[in-house]
Amino acid sequence: MNTVYLIVIASSLFFLFVVIGMTAKNKLTDQYAFMWLTFSIIGVVLAFALPYLNDFARAIGISYLPSLIFLLAFLVVLSLLIYHTHLLSKQEHRIKTLVQDVAFLQREIQEVRKEDSRS
């Protein structure tokens, strides 16, 4: 077992503990916590399976394993980004509606107050 192998396993475990810690302290809402837990467990499994992955990469014609890992990681990160932009757009839309509703309510409150002060 060489040093690189140990570093990969250690960092994947570290990542898993960070996610578990954040989940325990309620710093992630449930659905995101679950998503990141899944990712970090996959990370740990992959780290332990590194030697087998090497064989797999060679079998499908990739002579340099890290390029396969980079490719997969890149695709995962890209889909996450799109997903987050989608969530962001949804939030923006909701905030816009809320801001408009707050403005309407403020106007109504002002009108009621004016009527009160008159009567």
Partner: protein
């Protein structure tokens, strides 16, 4: 039966022009108006309150699309038959209001746009603005099959059907051209009529050359994608 007509005045940092514009509007008894103060950072809010002008103040700046949509939601809530959008900076002449309403009722269209270019008027814009307008005119003829000589004009009147539609869905930024495409492609009738436009009374145009490139690209992109897919 008289129809209820609302004038929507979006205002962002318009402390210099707002009093003049609203005082002109208050001379029209037959129309209601509402100023949408889009989270202004200057004294617009205080001025609106001090003069007791009808207004809605957004606690945050939503940008022109969100502000105008607030007006349409207001019109939808309080049962208005027509809504007119009029800029607060004094560029739109309230003298044209009667003309817009009369033409709207006569032609029975869904949206009527006040155009500076149908006949010769006093308006002179920057060359970037004119290039943009020509480009949008061409784009609208191509995609929406309507000939609008002044597609970026913000001076426009819509009927109840469009009010209800806009209350639910309105573009966030640079909405003028995009809504024409959307309405025309949904089968709404969009036409235009001649109006006068003045030079602005205060403040600066929000459209810089860099932004107009973004404006053109954005509208083209969304018009194509949202019309054909």
């Amino acid at each position: 039966m008289t129809s209820k007509i609302l004038i929507i005045v979006p205002a962002y940092n318009e402390e210099q022009a707002i009093v003049g514009t609203v005082q002109q509007l208050e001379q029209f008894d037959e129309y209601d108006y509402v100023v949408i103060n889009d989270g202004s950072t200057d004294r617009t809010k205080e001025i609106l309150e001090a003069h007791n002008f009808s207004h809605v103040t957004l606690p945050l700046n939503l940008g022109i699309g969100g502000a105008v949509q607030t007006g349409f939601r207001y019109a939808e809530r309080f049962g208005y038959d027509y809504a007119i959008q009029l800029d607060a900076d004094g560029q739109h002449d309230p003298e044209d209001l009667h003309h817009l309403v009369a033409e709207m009722k006569k032609r029975d269209v869904d949206m009527l746009i006040g155009s500076r270019f149908l006949e010769k008027s006093n308006y002179k814009g920057s060359w970037t603005r004119r290039v943009g307008i020509l480009y949008f005119n061409y784009l609208l003829r191509l995609i929406a099959r309507v000939n609008i000589t002044d597609p970026t004009s913000g001076y426009r009147i819509v009927n109840r059907r469009v009010i209800e539609w806009f209350a639910k869905d309105y573009p966030v930024d640079y909405p003028e051209v995009e809504v024409i495409v959307k309405l025309a492609r949904k089968g709404f009738k969009v036409e235009e009529t001649k109006v006068e436009m003045n030079a602005r009374q205060g403040g600066a145009s929000s459209i810089t050359p860099g932004k107009s490139v973004y404006y053109m690209a954005k509208v083209t992109f969304f018009s194509l994608i949202r019309s054909y897919i």
